[in-house]
Amino acid sequence: MTGGPAGAAPPAPTILPGGLPAGLPGAGAVPASGFGAFVARARAAGVLVVQPRMGMADPLRMRDGLRATRDADAVTVGTVTLDSYTRTGDLDAARRALAEGVGLNGYPIATHCADTTRTVLQGVMDARFPVQVRHGSAMPEHIVRALLAVGLDATEGGPVSYCLPYSRTPLREAVTAWRRSCELLASMREYGSEPHLETFGGCLMGQLCPPSLLIAVSVLEALFFRQHGLTSVSLSYAQQADPRQDEEALTVLARLAGELLPDVDHHVVLYAYMGVFPRSPGGARLLLEDAARLAVRAGAARLIVKTTAEAHRIPTVGENVRALETAAAAAADERARPALSAVPRACGPGTAATAAATAAATAAATAATTAAATAVAVVPDTGIEAEARALIGAVLELDTDVGRALVRAFAAGYLDVPYCLHPDNAGRARTSLAPDGRLLWSSVGSMPIAGLAADGPRPPILGSAGLISALSHVQRTYDDRAADPSAPTATAEVTAAACPPRPHLPQCRTDPPRPPEPPRTPVPPRTTSTPRRELGPTTP
């Protein structure tokens, strides 16, 4: 089956009804063509769009990868992931690597001549198979120029999300570069195209960032994009360690997007887990399937997949295709399930329609306000929305220019990414992982969210052993599930800080007395949210 939703023969759309209330995602200003329009059509048809991360230096291999993505048994969009030299603007190094045949970890779009890249895309990319460029650059103008030159107009990132976690670029400079990049992209609207830009703000460090901050940065980056001329955007959120918390988060993200971007085409995109990935193929598959089910329940329109190779290396095209098909099958299965299930279901594009879809299909026409009121009863409110609103509100108060507001917010510590070492980040926020995988604040630093979540007393600040344990929680949980299918899905692990090492995967201990046997520790994770700049398989 090819990529277009027309050929996808979707299952009966029991969850994603048509006739969305105005103001909900996708309801406003859906463009006639382009990346955003394609996703909107798929969503209207009740199908989750799935997308790989994929980039090869060789044009023929890149083309083959795109074709394989298009031809997968799923509704797909294509990806051209760029190499790390292009990402950092070191085009001389990219040129040398190409000339010397040294392996690059992505497609050097600013180095191959435009005709070459046009040939890669010709006959593959069309209205039924849009292609997005993924890069990871804090200073992306050269990338935007290169992609526009070859007829592409969809990409992703953001002034915060591609600056703080991955670069040393001052935030102020990244904001300026992203403003120019947005304006370049938006200028294409004069020529009848509808450029699309996706926030990466829902990922940040990849793990151990509570949902409210992910939502806030994602929404703020989308507002930044809109301020600089974009009219079709998507808002990202990365799967974390507890499906219920994620469902609540996606519900809140869609609701805030509907409120704050009413005049812009937009959708929510879920990233399959961006932290330390399960080592076992079975564990990796289970985690991906959970992401796909989460996307369906919470009304995300698009999912970016991870493969079974994630913990080990950059995946092959075949592994990517299998991941796309696995995710599509899990999504279809979830959509076909009876509306009422053991897990509270947040669904419906806006998510505000959650309860409506659960209770009765006809309720889709329910007024958004009514649906929002009932949604609270279905997806428990643990305070994510209050925190996200407080963060967004505090930033927007600082300046009418979103970019300046972001710079000032980080300087004041109103936004503070936990564990981020960038000099422009206050670095006072700390998080912890509850036994059931919920992310909690151990310290909110100067962020204006103290006391907003109903989490009880703050958990202690993680030490080194606790940090390693928390970072590998998802890996451990899913590898265990794969090894023992009868294992409970929510593990009964004790919070890392207080927990003795598990016998089969000992943690490093630092406090005397030392354990009798030297424990072996995993490398502090190589697999993080880091873009694929070298070997790290995790990519934007």
Partner: protein, 164 residues
């Protein structure tokens, strides 16, 4: 440059070392650096964490400025071996750092764990310890524990076989 990203964890002791924790120019991973900072602070040391993608010149300049008791290079992107050889040469060329205990660890190559030859090459190039993926963190701890504060001396037994 300003470095303040992670607050002191644990109580620095008077006998604690001044440690620089850093990665190298091509590596943007930072969870490893956060972990090392916490670990060293729990042991009573004071840490300056240089963060992601540290250019060679900045790395050397900061080390010369701070004159730490220990320099810890951590890299997990697979380029650590080659980057490390280059960086240690630059560090040792700086008179203030000629004798500063300097170790490297993480995932230093693109395929699997370290080889004895790789370790020897790194030690020969000027590192005092090599701590690769798959080893015990206790070896690193005992190496650090063997260092006298403020010594700046290289009268050390080279360590090996563990990871950061």
């Amino acid at each position: 440059m300003e470095q303040h990203a992670v607050e002191q964890h644990g109580k620095a002791e008077p006998t604690g070392l001044d440690v620089i924790v850093t990665t190298m120019a091509s590596d943007s991973h930072t969870w490893n650096l956060v972990f090392l900072q916490l670990l060293l602070e729990e042991l009573g040391h004071r840490v300056t964490n240089l963060g992601a993608c540290v250019p060679d010149e900045l790395l050397v300049a900061e080390c010369c400025r701070i004159e730490p008791d220990l320099i810890v290079l951590s890299s997990v992107n697979g380029h650590g071996f080659h980057d490390g050889l280059r960086v240690v040469e630059a560090l040792r060329a700086c008179p203030e750092l000629a004798g500063t205990p300097t170790v490297i660890g993480g995932k230093l190559g693109i395929s699997g764990s370290g080889t004895p030859a790789r370790q020897r090459a790194l030690l020969t190039a000027g590192f005092d310890g090599v701590f690769e993926e798959g080893g015990s963190v206790l070896d690193f701890q005992s190496f650090v524990g063997s260092l006298p504060a403020g010594s700046g001396s290289r009268a050390l037994t080279a360590g090996s076989g563990v990871l950061l």
